[in-house]
Symmetry: C2
Subunit: 342 residues, 2 copies
């Protein structure tokens, strides 16, 4: 029991106890090499005896920084986002940053609120995946952003760093693989054209048919949302078509869950009844009844890169032009595709 009323010690207490000035204590903490070893040890002794810890709030105020970065996404329960978060966190934490996680639930209003929050001294930077590349509110905020930001897989005509995935070639490859297996009635379910992954995936899908000189099955393109419900609904109607597809590309993490649920409900099995290709690794994609053939992308590297881009801006020289870094996808062969039945 040291003291009865021990309000938290401040740097002034340390100065008093060690018999030096507050400036010296501060320097001992931040640039110890500029203080005489003898003094340093006095200060350190005082710090120990008082159990002093600098008040982070005061530091933030004075340094005009918070060592905090906001990660803004629609849903952390999406395993891809969770993995991405982990990669970003690992990279930033070793530089002393902590992460705010802000879920927007796909709502433009929450997105706007999150950006407003982060703007004014709550975070030093942000990494985000916005819900709609055309949303005026969000665009406005991004334009007026006072802190550095990195976009994940989104395309905005602004000077903002971005880390992208080459979805189109990935989808082209996957679609082509199905075509070579003899499939013609291939469906794709993915995000809407209001976000880059939706646009690019559909583009790759279409290109594959065009390059193969085949008609594009426009009626099988379902491109509106990344949600599990959307995947479920669209898969359900696709499976009930008179001439139903022989293969489905579930291009989205959550979509896959919905698609599988629909298949289960309709008693359709993979790959016997229908071929299936997924996007991004996930428990379910890798385990289902067996591993599903999927279009993978290096999520850890993507996260790490985003963090590094942000760090470059945070570490002072804000001067370089916005950068866009792209990562390719890889088709991982699982057991969910069979040659089409004659």
């Amino acid at each position: 029991m040291t003291k009865v009323v021990d309000k938290k010690a401040t740097i002034r207490d340390v100065a008093r106890v060690s018999g030096v000035s507050v400036g010296t204590v501060s320097r001992s903490l931040n640039v110890p090499e500029t203080v005489k070893p003898e003094t340093l040890s006095k200060v350190r002794a005082a710090i120990r005896s008082l159990d002093f810890q600098p008040d982070v709030r005061a530091q933030n105020m004075r340094r005009r920084s918070t060592m905090t970065v906001g990660f803004v996404i629609d849903d952390i329960a999406n395993p891809w986002h969770a993995s991405c978060f982990k990669a970003i966190d690992a990279e930033l934490r070793q530089k002393g940053y902590s992460l705010y996680l802000m879920s927007t639930h796909g709502q433009a209003s929450e997105e706007a609120a999150a950006l407003d929050m982060l703007q004014h001294g709550r975070a030093d930077g942000m990494i985000m995946t916005i819900n709609n590349e055309q949303d005026a509110r969000t665009i406005k905020r991004l334009k007026e952003l006072r802190i550095p930001a990195v976009l994940l897989d989104r395309d905005i005509p602004l000077e903002i760093d971005a880390v992208l995935t080459e979805h189109a070639p990935g989808l082209r490859q996957a679609t082509n693989y199905l075509i070579e297996l003899g499939h013609r009635r291939i469906a794709i379910i993915t995000a809407g054209s209001d976000i880059r992954p939706g646009r690019e995936r559909v583009r790759g899908f279409v290109e594959a048919f065009e390059r193969a000189g085949l008609p594009v099955p426009r009626d099988l393109i379902r491109s509106q949302s990344l949600s599990a419900d959307y995947g479920f609904r669209e898969a359900t109607t696709l499976l009930q078509m008179p001439e139903r597809p022989t293969a489905i590309i579930a291009a989205g993490n959550r979509i896959l869950a919905g698609v599988l649920r629909a298949m289960q409900q309709q008693g359709v099995s993979v790959p016997q009844d229908i071929s299936l290709i997924a996007c991004d690794r996930s428990d379910i994609a890798m385990l289902y009844p067996g591993p599903i053939t999927l279009i993978d992308r290096p999520v850890e590297e993507i996260g790490r890169t985003a963090a590094q881009l942000l760090l470059e801006r945070l570490d002072g020289s804000n001067a370089r032009p916005a950068q866009r870094i792209s990562f390719p996808t890889h088709l991982i062969m699982g057991g969910s595709c069979l040659p089409v039945r004659r």
Copy 2:
């Protein structure tokens, strides 16, 4: 284009422009009902024209709070934690709090680092699931904690609020169900006895046998870790036993993924070759080849309750004794269990 060099406006600028004192501006912002309507509108006009936003860092410093809560867990890629985070976030956000997400990767050192971080002015409170209830470093920090905290599913002999799950009755019920299906060689794979879920689950498992007057299959209790790898390893050896179990309880989210991988690798199918019970809802548990029978718990309610307990402490009166709130589990019937073959 309003100004060329517009450093961020401060409350002093607002005071100057609106012709009142800084104190009045502050009151206009925080307790508008104490300022004359006339004055208020002058101030608001100035705020608008300057595009003034209070600096959060300065507010934090002065108010000695940050409106931030830390959520400390081992891995956000665990879908249960992700769901829990969402519930907590929803509850806290509407009171104006933001959440730090800190992943400890199950490492005691990272856990200690996270607690230290949060202690000194970075967060106003914390909600956490620690990795080991016996770890001296963590216990020490918890004992000296200067901010309110809520433990999730952990049992520590300290005055700390906690939200718990009644794992034992849940496991007893699940085990009993298997026993009634004729199973005797039932295995359980779960966490170690260093955390409450591990202890309680094993306890419930054992009790079920005892109450049924049956010998407890001690050789089939694998209780060491919640990781997917552990699940994989233990399932692999269990499946290779000469007299292998006829049912496995994969008591843990990640464990289930490991167990399923092992089964897949060994060509064992559920439920034909072996019965399976899981814990907690997840994509994989609900979709596998069909929904797996599982011991569910109300994750949203658990998260919400934890948030509410914390809010009670944050909202001033720190006075009530520590509270422990328990939630029951429910057995959800899937199709992963069959009567044991004669």
